[in-house]
Symmetry: C2
Subunit: 238 residues, 2 copies
């Protein structure tokens, strides 16, 4: 694969850079254990994540003004607790604490080394639907060497709305064709390409666990296709 | 001095964290030498900086929509070249290159060690009038360990407009009284205090050179008053 060298790389984070499923499940496991709740933490994490797109869609569609993902996560937690019949088992303060699980997600094993390699030659920033507040704390927890935090908060909207990619590129003072979007999700890359960005697919076949059905392979001729962040760094060196 | 421990520190950058005057003068000296221009680089840096407040004031007053500081710096460079009679000596491409001098400013000698100490216990972010594009590149050049970049670009306006402090605090998911503004400029701290932030004055008596007349001392009972960034870190440890 040959590609013009991007000046900056911007990243999807949940699933691409960090393992949200096991991170959230781990926090749920601690709480459920303390409260003697018999519910699968991984199943709970999946249910919580399932409310993610519908909540953002209300904002993307214009039915609700922009609110940060931290707020949506907290609202979605209430929804999932009600759906699972656990609403009387978890106090408000515990819910607030559990909501911070999204700030303490483990990086994939190749993430920190890969970002370190990539940082030598490129500006690096998340272009995530997570807020600046969330992404800044997550970066400290996971050791992510971002140069700035871009994404939803910069744009006041959620991916895949084009404004999120456009505002993130503009914030770096670059043209879209100077920036590469890195994601484990084909739909994210289709949207970024539509805005004129270069694209890199990093395959994360276990993001949704062993039963994952989506995004198991590149669905287009993305500029780069890699199996890991270190692999991506290798491709960009050549 | 006693102060509640802030969760985040946000910083003025030009003058407080980095030495804009010697940094810009150094870039000017290189160019003037190559072009055999006999003009004091320090005097030119001072003239360039003198256009800073008037340019921002047109935006703060509502007479012009928000444009990034990079654009204002470039416009101001043209103004100063005309005022100094050098407009026919420096090509457009050289002006564009010189404008990047603001991304390559040396930190004060205590800055990097001080920020490193402060980062252990606090979120750190610039709350500067510099753009994300400018601040991200400056951070790489000077080794500034920011957790994110906040300030004018987040707010779409320039300090001391209250919105810049308010938007920066909100982006961190914190209340104003959980955040401390750090600046070498009393007027910056007056504006931040008005928004409910804690305040720290770090004295930089040579920002404008040996003839500096302003900001030689704290002009109010700021929550903390320090002689250096390492000194500030010491005060926050106690």
């Amino acid at each position: 694969m040959r590609v013009a060298s991007p000046k900056a790389l911007i990243f999807d984070v949940f699933g691409t850079v960090v393992d949200w499923r096991n991170g959230v499940a781990s926090a749920c496991a601690d709480l459920f254990s303390a409260r003697e709740i018999d519910f699968s933490p991984l199943a709970f994490a999946d249910l919580w994540r399932a409310e993610y797109q519908p909540a953002m869609e209300r904002i993307r569609s214009g039915n609700r003004g922009y609110v940060r993902l931290d707020v949506l996560h907290r609202e979605n937690l209430d929804i999932v607790l009600a759906k699972t019949g656990l609403e009387n088992r978890i106090e408000d303060a515990e819910r607030d604490a559990l909501n911070h699980a999204w700030e303490r997600l483990p990086p994939w094993p190749d993430t920190v080394e890969g970002l370190g390699l990539l940082k030598a030659d490129h500006l690096l920033a998340p272009c995530s639907n997570g807020s600046i507040a969330l992404m800044a704390r997550l970066a400290r927890f996971a050791g992510l060497p971002w140069d700035s935090i871009l994404g939803a908060d910069i744009a006041g909207n959620y991916k895949p709305d084009p404004q999120v990619y456009i505002a993130s590129v503009a914030a770096l003072g670059l043209r879209p064709d100077e920036v590469m979007m890195v994601a484990a999700h084909n739909d994210d890359l289709f949207a970024a390409r539509e805005c004129g960005l270069m694209t890199a697919f990093v395959c994360r076949p276990n993001e949704y666990g062993p039963e994952q059905k989506t995004d198991l392979a590149a669905e287009s001729d993305w500029d780069l296709i890699a199996e890991s962040m270190t692999g991506l760094a290798g491709l960009l060196k050549h």
